[in-house]
């Protein structure tokens, strides 16, 4: 990765009202400021790019009640990971029928709780979870998640979720036998996937699963495409339209018409709607002769920037020193933890004029930040979220 630093104060990535909020209110740092109008616009852009797919917002990306409420008003459905997220969505006015319990790792008691609250859609990938669904959520619509054999994503899932495709066939047939509504297959290309071909691989495999089930007399009706639609951070990502076109063509080729489509975007809905405002705590050198400066911010891996682990996500940064000379930096968080370093391999440059007390804005930070914050690591409080729009 070697994109240039965005030091422009007029970056189009930050909306005028968000910029005005930062300038006029001067909130205490660190904080995440989220533009709810941008959340709505991102949701509508997804709907427009792929109108044939129902949108289940992946609540985990940003579970702020304000976000959920805005998306309820937009007509979104919701992909939830826990009973906590179910309660959150219902409290914000979501209909139980609009929730899908997408986590294939569930306690039996949590399935029962979800069912009692009216949730009727579930994802599973194992015999154990399937047996629990049959017992505690009788008659529910279920998807079986399979492991898609696709090119690597930016933040790959490894093999934690999904079963082998042939096992998915067996499990969906068993689901039908257990009295569940075997809705179809489900896959996830991995978060932040930049190659539209990944969906093609998943759709091809899902169609094979559907055909084998149909041959066994187990018709399915839908295809859950998961999430993974990428956000352009320092490196640009292909536009949504490219992913939509790849999905549309592959569905037409392998499924034809008549299959219900669902997507579970999280990052694509909220990432670009948020900016984290941080403050420089210290600029130092480890050696008087060292060219690199260390820039320590008042936010780090344990207070919201968890996705910088292994430098997976390289955020664009903005300072109030545009168009001034810069130099190479290593960027780190404020805790006493040696692993609380944001970027030491990804080459970042920051202005030579940067001083303690200056702001550094972290762009496109609306997804997978505030809710990752530790409760009190090193005595630092969790990242607060403020809202505009």
């Amino acid at each position: 990765m070697h994109a240039v630093l965005d030091t422009s104060l007029s970056s189009p990535a930050v909306s005028a009202q968000l910029r005005a909020f930062l300038d006029d209110r001067a909130p205490a740092t660190p904080c995440l400021v989220l533009d709810l109008d941008a959340v709505r616009a991102n949701y509508r852009a997804l709907r427009a790019a792929l109108p044939e797919a129902a949108v289940f917002y992946a609540v985990k990306a940003n579970p702020a009640p304000e976000v959920v409420r805005a998306l309820v008003a937009e007509g979104s459905s919701f992909d939830v990971a826990s009973t906590g997220e179910i309660d959150l969505c219902l409290a914000q006015g979501a209909a139980a029928a609009s929730l899908s319990y997408g986590n294939p790792i569930k306690k039996a008691a949590d399935i029962g709780y979800a069912h009692a609250r009216g949730v009727r859609r579930f994802t599973f990938d194992s015999d154990g979870d399937l047996a629990n669904l049959a017992e505690h959520a009788p008659g529910a619509r279920v998807w079986c998640r399979f492991l898609v054999d696709a090119p690597e994503s930016g933040t790959p899932f490894g093999r934690k979720f999904g079963c082998a495709p042939e096992m998915a066939v067996r499990l969906l047939a068993r689901a039908r036998d257990l009295g569940l509504d075997a809705d179809g297959a489900c896959f996830h290309v991995g978060s932040q996937h930049v190659d539209p071909a990944a969906w093609v691989a998943g759709i091809t495999q899902a169609a094979r699963i559907a055909r084998e089930l149909a041959e066994r007399g187990v018709p399915t009706r839908s295809l859950n495409l998961g999430g993974g639609f990428p956000t352009g951070y320092r490196c640009p990502a292909p536009p949504l339209a490219d992913h939509a076109a790849a999905i549309r063509a592959a569905v037409a080729e392998h499924f034809g018409t008549g299959v219900e489509l669902l997507i579970e975007p999280g990052r694509a809905v909220v990432a670009t709607a948020g900016v984290i405002r941080s403050e420089v705590v210290l600029v130092s050198r480890k050696d008087d002769a060292d060219e690199h400066r260390w820039v320590y911010l008042d936010i780090g891996r344990y207070s919201g920037l968890a996705e910088t682990e292994n430098e997976y996500i390289a955020y664009r940064l903005r300072t109030a020193h545009p168009a001034t000379p810069d130099g190479p930096v290593i960027i780190a968080g404020p805790t006493c933890d040696g692993d609380d370093v944001l970027y030491q391999h990804t080459p970042y440059r920051l202005p030579l004029a940067l001083r303690a007390g200056d702001h550094v804005d972290i762009l496109d930070a609306g997804a997978y930040t505030a809710s990752y914050s530790s409760v009190s690591f090193n005595g630092f409080p969790p990242l607060p979220t403020l809202f505009v729009g």
Copy 2:
């Protein structure tokens, strides 16, 4: 790492009163249960092993108020990382004079806050922080942290903290010129350091720094040895006595008598005092022919087991199926996050009889767990701590 699984219910790592609490109270999972008597015993063992060193407990390791209060009663001093930890210690009865602000990354305002609350000991490693100390904590005792050139630790710091030794000489001389009390040098071998030789390297370098300062007419009086004393997790660690002996010999050789010693243990005080009780959510296979089972617990990397990142810390596990046949497992947490996998490279084996709903106890989990918990990632609440003793 290839230690065997500890499935013994009578493991000496768990005290009788802690075991009785787990058996009798059957607390909701996941939870950390901490034995305060074991905390006290660990503190006393450190004092006994190295009576010539003052103990500053590194609060970050476990900032539970109950732990701080117990250590105040034992006469401990405290190494704090933030104003939040200062407030915490003072609220639990610690004297301001017993606190050392050991984080070299501090906002100027936080230095002023600490000074106003009576804190008079600080660690720094840069010109910027030193200038702030001179302005906002005039006359304070300061240590300069240098980068020790030592063998790797279990969880290495990299280069985030400390400056080059020759820079430490310059900075401590400048500290004196700025009216501060240049107390001496400070280093940290890295958390979970198993090689006693690491302290020898640091002490040798610190003595060189002290000599160069003395030659410049800047006498120093103390040596802050930091923490890093290891806990035996799956792999045994050398006993504390070995580290103490190495430290004592190196101090005698390089400093002689008359140097004040301080240590900042965190893990060594609290790790073995805690057990995390978790529950198996699901046992599954990815493929019907796969030998490996996936065991999903109701605790993961985002709810307290952050130190399993890169499988750095391999905890001992205990189940209620001792002496039964076992098989290889991959162990993962309950969230929808693909990185929430605890062990997939470190070879773990768990009983074949293990089922959803069974308990898995995670031993020696009193350090760097609960305070790392995320506020609500995937809708799961932070790890609660319960106390015995």
